[in-house]
Amino acid sequence: MRDAMTLLNVNDIIWPALNGELAWNILQKNFESSLIPCLIVLDLNMPKMNGTQTLSKIKNDNRFKEIPVIIYSTSINPLEKEKCILLGAHSYITKPVSFEESIETARIFLQFCQKLLA
């Protein structure tokens, strides 16, 4: 995905995190510098703090709850999907399986942010 973003020349606007816990740390650290992301892309299956836990934490914090969260996972069962929507996820995108798809996905994320900023 980072490669795809690089191809679109927008790599520097991404803060990647390996798991939910790290994502949370990054969010808090940047908040101190008054930096708030315009979009959070969240995988579900992560070590330490998984997707739904992270989602719930974000949506229960007044500082971050307005940030749209897109669930980004390989597959999702209907129950989990329902849970994510209830927790306040914006939408859901299946991980790409081809190069073209990955470019397409990256473009969607970018457009989403641009629309928000406009």
Partner: protein, 549 residues
């Protein structure tokens, strides 16, 4: 006043007068009277005795000695059952003058005449003396064969009286016991029975002997009962018992009784004289026993049931656990398996697309087959996931318009339909209660199957028709494809079964298995008809309404 009886003489005929005289003389002698005094006393007693003899019933003379007080008397007491003063007047008048005092009384229509003759013996008359006199009278040598006979007769009468009293006592005793007591002769005939026999059975000894107890004993118990009654059991045997139901005279009800008979053997004789027995009501006990037995059986059944239930619960628990594990497996398949496959797919694609110049032809081919294999694996995992998600918990029944479902399925297959130029004719379909997603999958899989196995030369034509049979909708999907040999039918709807190699026809072997699972979970079924080279028809029968399911 205490009178001690010493002897008695019944007055039956003239001969008895001699006996009276003799006894009185003897009593006088014992009392120490002179011979003339003895004669006087004996004469007085004889006088009244003669009068008594004239009565038809006769009387009885009792000789006593009275020892109380200062004066001692010989007392002759005459008891006469017929009261007749006239008869006595003459003899009594005479006798009165011969004795010291007399007494005439009437008690219960019986005349009692007592003559007192004073004695003053030179010895004490105590209990021992009285007993000595009694023995003397008893041992008196009979004066004549008549006296001998009379004495024996008296003894017999006495005995018979005692026997009668004793018998009456026993009868009262046996009647007071709440059981039937009886005796039987050697042929099994009743000789005696207490009144309970009649009270309970309503029959008499004679009627029972006549009918052989047939009306009284329950027919199922009759044989053993009759056997006990009739079978001559020889000596040396002891008590024999049996149980039988006997009918009460007041109704149709038979109550359980215990019948016991024992041989009666006289001490002196070895042979069995007769049988004595009793019949006692054991109905309550028997019913209680039966109830206990029933209860025990019930308890056993209950225990068995409990055990079965526990086993069942154990199985259910195991099944639930196994189901849970399967669901977990589906979850694992959805994430942990899919992600690595996705990565394989993604990076092989990435390499194929962006590293075109740095990989040689050979490497490109290897990468290509790796990419194809990853794609197949992804489809396989997704199909498995679909299959595992078709279960009772996931199903959502709603009225579903099958026309919409068919349209959606065609949309899903748009690419392959266009690719093959397939024509699909769909008859107007009804609304049935079912799960929309599953129906879409079912239609999609069958249509996809037909398109996939079409003849290379012919564009596929699929006709979807339906007809209602009772509460079931029978859908048929007919194609003009390659068909198949019906001998493979049984395998076709099971997991991973494929009739063709992957090179000729793509697929995971799960499509029809998924269709079967969907049909079955709806309470329906799926089957097919085909001939090799002549197309195939798949039938799906589904209930119109799930409430009947």
């Amino acid at each position: 006043m205490t009178m001690h009886e010493l002897a008695r003489v019944t007055l039956d005929n003239d001969m008895d007068l001699i006996l009276v005289h003799k006894r009185c003389m003897k009593l006088g002698e014992l009392g120490g009277l002179s011979l003339s005094a003895q004669t006087t006393f004996a004469t007085a007693v004889s006088e009244i005795s003669r009068n008594a003899l004239e009565s038809e019933k006769g009387g009885c003379l009792i000789l006593n000695v009275e020892t109380d007080g200062r004066d001692k008397y010989l007392v002759a007491c005459l008891k006469d059952k017929q009261f007749n003063h006239k008869r006595f007047s003459q003899g009594l008048e005479y006798a009165k003058r011969l004795v010291n005092k007399y007494n005439v009384s009437e008690i219960n229509g019986e005349t009692n005449i007592e003559l007192f003759y004073n004695i003053s013996p030179p010895f004490r008359i105590d209990v021992a003396k009285v007993e000595e006199w009694r023995n003397m009278f008893r041992a008196e040598v009979p004066i004549s064969p008549y006296e001998e006979l009379k004495r024996k007769n008296e003894q017999l009468l006495n005995l018979s009286e005692k026997v009668q009293t004793s018998e009456a006592q026993y009868r009262a005793l046996t009647n007071s016991l709440p059981m039937i007591i009886f005796s039987l002769d050697m042929k099994g005939h009743l000789l005696y029975a207490n009144e309970w026999l009649t009270k309970y059975t309503g029959e008499t000894i004679d009627s029972l002997n006549g009918s052989g107890w047939k009306a009284v004993v329950h027919e199922n118990d009759y044989e053993s009962f009759y056997h006990l009654l009739k079978n001559p059991v020889t000596k040396g045997s002891t008590t024999i018992k049996t149980q039988a139901r006997l009918k009460h005279k007041n109704g149709e009800e038979f109550l359980w009784h215990q019948i016991s008979i024992s041989p009666f053997i006289n001490d002196t004789e070895e042979e069995i004289q007769y049988w004595i027995g009793y019949i006692v009501d054991i109905h309550t006990q028997k019913v209680f026993e039966e109830t206990l037995k029933d209860n025990a059986e019930l308890k056993r059944t209950q225990d068995q049931l409990k055990e079965n239930q526990q086993t069942l619960e154990k199985y259910i628990e195991e099944l639930n656990r196994s189901n849970y594990e399967l669901q977990q497996f589906a979850f694992v398949a959805s994430h942990d398996l899919q992600e690595p496959v996705r990565k394989l797919l993604f990076y092989s694609d990435y390499l194929l697309k962006t590293y075109t110049n740095s990989i040689d032809q050979k490497g490109f081919e290897y990468l290509g087959s790796m990419h194809t294999a990853s794609k197949r694996m992804r489809t396989l995992i997704q199909d498995l996931l679909t299959f595992s998600r078709i279960n009772k918990e996931e199903i959502r029944f709603k009225p579903i318009d099958l026309n919409t479902v068919a349209k959606e399925a065609l949309q899903d297959l748009e690419i392959s339909i266009e690719e093959k130029g397939a024509r699909i004719n769909i008859q107007s379909l009804p609304v049935i209660i079912s799960d929309q997603g599953m129906m879409r999958q079912l239609f999609g899989n069958i249509i996809h199957n037909s398109i996939k196995y079409s003849k290379p030369a012919n564009a596929p034509v699929i006709d979807i028709t339906c007809q209602q049979k009772d509460n079931f909708l029978e859908l048929s999907f007919s194609d003009n494809g390659i068909g198949f040999n019906e001998q493979y039918l049984p395998q076709m709807f099971t997991l991973f079964q494929r009739l063709h190699d992957r090179q000729s026809y793509e697929g995971t072997g799960l499509g029809l298995a998924i269709c079967r699972k969907i049909a079955e979970i709806h309470g329906g079924k799926i089957w097919a008809q085909a001939k090799e080279g002549e197309g195939a028809t798949f039938f799906v029968s589904l209930p119109m309404n799930q409430s009947a399911n």
